[in-house]
């Protein structure tokens, strides 16, 4: 867990969130904590409760139980004040087709209490950030899907909010727009708390600093990207001679050995495995070590393991 989360109140904090659609439990006992500087990737298979959770966090849906605090403000008791700190881009951009782009952005900024003196500058900033100047005076119903998607993102940040919630932010964008949007999200995430829900695992890997996986409405995995995803948990080794598997298994930190052939073995171990004893053993036993390749588990591996029930992780 992020140290600062334990010490100070997070910008977005949800505790014990629950929601039920009649008899079906959509979200249960869900905790989310997000600090300025965090970009949290919210993952889960279809029907895991991601959209329901985002709707609750954005104030569009009232939780059955639990509490949401935005910048220290309770979303129930001080709903309007809390939502003033929020920028939300739903999966389907909330656009008015009969308005022009600039007009729409001015309206959304005014709704979020941007003062008249700051209005023009705020709109100009997002028009520039999202490359929308060329269509600023165009009606929204004449825009392509990519422009609409970018406009949906622009309205979420026009008022410079502290907490930004983005549902599938790069859906419908072309590769160069995806790259540009990821850069923008990373820039936003330096000073603000950003939560992204996406089906695209590579996008979460490329953009987020933390990841949380949801399944059946519960959080089943939560970790910082650099802690859990980049630390190798297996190492591929190959020798000129056939090694002794029992001797390899006895090495400190080794959980199991998975022979791929006589001379190629995958060693499963904890994160932070020290390879020096392995190299020393190989040298002493004259096995002739020719390959020592740490294997990093990608987000996709973790996601598949969790959602198929192969592995249990701490939530």
């Amino acid at each position: 867990m992020h140290n600062s989360i334990m010490n100070t109140e997070a910008d977005l904090q949800a505790r014990g969130l629950c929601y039920r659609y009649e008899d079906k439990i959509a979200v249960e006992a869900l905790d989310i904590s997000l600090q300025a500087g965090d970009i949290l990737g919210f993952l889960g298979p279809n029907g895991a409760g991601k959209t329901t959770t985002l709707n609750m966090l954005s104030g569009c849906l009232r939780p059955v139980a639990g509490q949401i605090r935005l910048c220290g403000l309770d979303m129930q008791r001080s709903a309007r004040q809390a939502r003033a700190h929020l920028g939300y881009a739903p999966e389907i951009p909330p656009l008015y087709p009969d308005l022009q782009v600039r007009e729409y952005l001015r309206f959304t900024a005014q709704l979020r209490r941007v003062t008249t003196s700051q209005l023009t500058a705020a709109v100009q900033r997002v028009l520039s950030d999202y490359d929308l100047q060329a269509v600023a005076h165009q009606r929204i119903d004449t825009l392509s899907k990519g422009y609409r998607q970018r406009l949906g993102l622009a309205q979420a940040i026009v008022h410079d909010p502290d907490v930004i919630i983005l549902d599938e932010p790069t859906d419908g964008l072309d590769p160069s727009q995806i790259r540009r949007t990821r850069e923008l999200i990373r820039t936003l995430g330096k000073k603000r708390a950003v939560l992204i829900s996406s089906h695209n695992l590579s996008e979460i890997e490329a953009t987020c600093t933390r990841v949380q996986i949801l399944q059946h409405g519960r959080s089943v995995y939560s970790a910082r990207m650099d802690d859990s995803l980049e630390a190798p948990v297996s190492t591929l080794v190959a020798f000129q001679q056939t090694p002794d598997l029992r001797a390899l298994s006895a090495l400190p930190g080794i959980a199991s050995c998975e022979p791929l052939s006589d001379k190629r073995i995958r060693l499963h171990h904890q994160a932070g495995f020290n390879t020096a004893p392995l190299v020393q053993l190989s040298s002493q036993s004259q096995w002739g070590l020719v390959l020592l390749q740490p294997e990093t588990r990608g987000l996709e591996d973790i996601f598949i393991d969790i959602t198929t029930g192969r592995t249990e992780y701490a939530a």
Partner: protein
């Protein structure tokens, strides 16, 4: 916030062809009624002498805007919230620092500002008689007040109907049904005294007619205000219900 939303609703009404077409059709209808009333006034001097030009032409012209609005208001109010739900734009308002009451008031003020144009057209036509006859400005004021309150009550019912469904056409039909019912209860006769009295109590003409005749009874004003507050309150509850059970997007 309410003003921002109201201004946007007003602006968007004039962005759609429907807004202009409804206004043009209403003006045409009211214009024809006005000409007819002037002609009737000229042809029937006895009735004219009895009722006066203000009632015979101006008040009845203002009353006609209530009949024309019966079709116009459902058409223009149908998209207020139902279209937000259909286009998935309601989350923009729900995630903004606006309460459900502010959303309802903003939309209501926007649509009311548009709807009031209908009796205003009739009023302007009535004022054109200033040069040719002596007008009773007191009667003109109460008739205008009655027509404006009636149309504001229509708008509140239209807003509520729009909040109950994703389909604008369904919202328009349900609004029209309620408006017609509240016109027709005045001719309801069951023989059961209490029921007949209740039907009279909730009928539009029962409360509009005295105002058209220059009688300001606070019970009639209260009736229109009650209808407006009731349906705005129901719209707020409906938006809160959408926050509780989802479906707002």
């Amino acid at each position: 916030m309410i003003r921002t939303l109201a201004a946007m609703e007003w602006k968007r009404l004039f962005r759609s062809p429907l807004g202009w077409v409804v206004l043009a059709a209403a003006q045409l209808g009211q214009g024809l009624v006005f000409v007819q009333l002037v002609e009737t006034y000229q042809r029937n001097p006895a009735a004219a002498a009895h009722n006066g030009a203000t009632y015979q032409v101006a008040s009845l012209a203002l009353a006609s805007s209530g009949y024309i609005a019966l079709l116009a208001i459902p058409l223009i109010s149908m998209r207020l919230i139902s279209e937000e739900r259909r286009l998935h734009s309601l989350p923009l308002l729900q995630s903004s620092p606006l309460s459900s009451l502010q959303i309802v008031l903003g939309k209501y003020l926007g649509i009311s500002a548009y709807a009031i144009l209908l009796p205003l057209f009739s009023l302007v036509m009535a004022l054109s008689l200033i040069g040719s006859t002596q007008l009773d400005f007191g009667l003109l004021a109460t008739s205008s007040l009655g027509s404006i309150l009636l149309i504001c009550a229509y708008a509140a019912i239209g807003l509520f109907c729009s909040s109950t469904t994703r389909s604008p056409s369904l919202a328009a039909i349900s609004c029209l049904t309620i408006l017609i019912l509240l016109w027709s209860t005045t001719v309801f006769h069951s023989g059961i005294r209490q029921l007949d009295k209740l039907m009279q109590l909730i009928s539009w003409p029962e409360h509009l007619q005295p105002l058209l005749q220059g009688v300001v009874d606070t019970r009639n004003l209260f009736f229109f205000l009650f209808v407006i507050i009731l349906f705005l309150g129901l719209s707020v509850l409906q938006l809160e219900n959408l926050r509780n059970r989802g479906g707002g997007d």
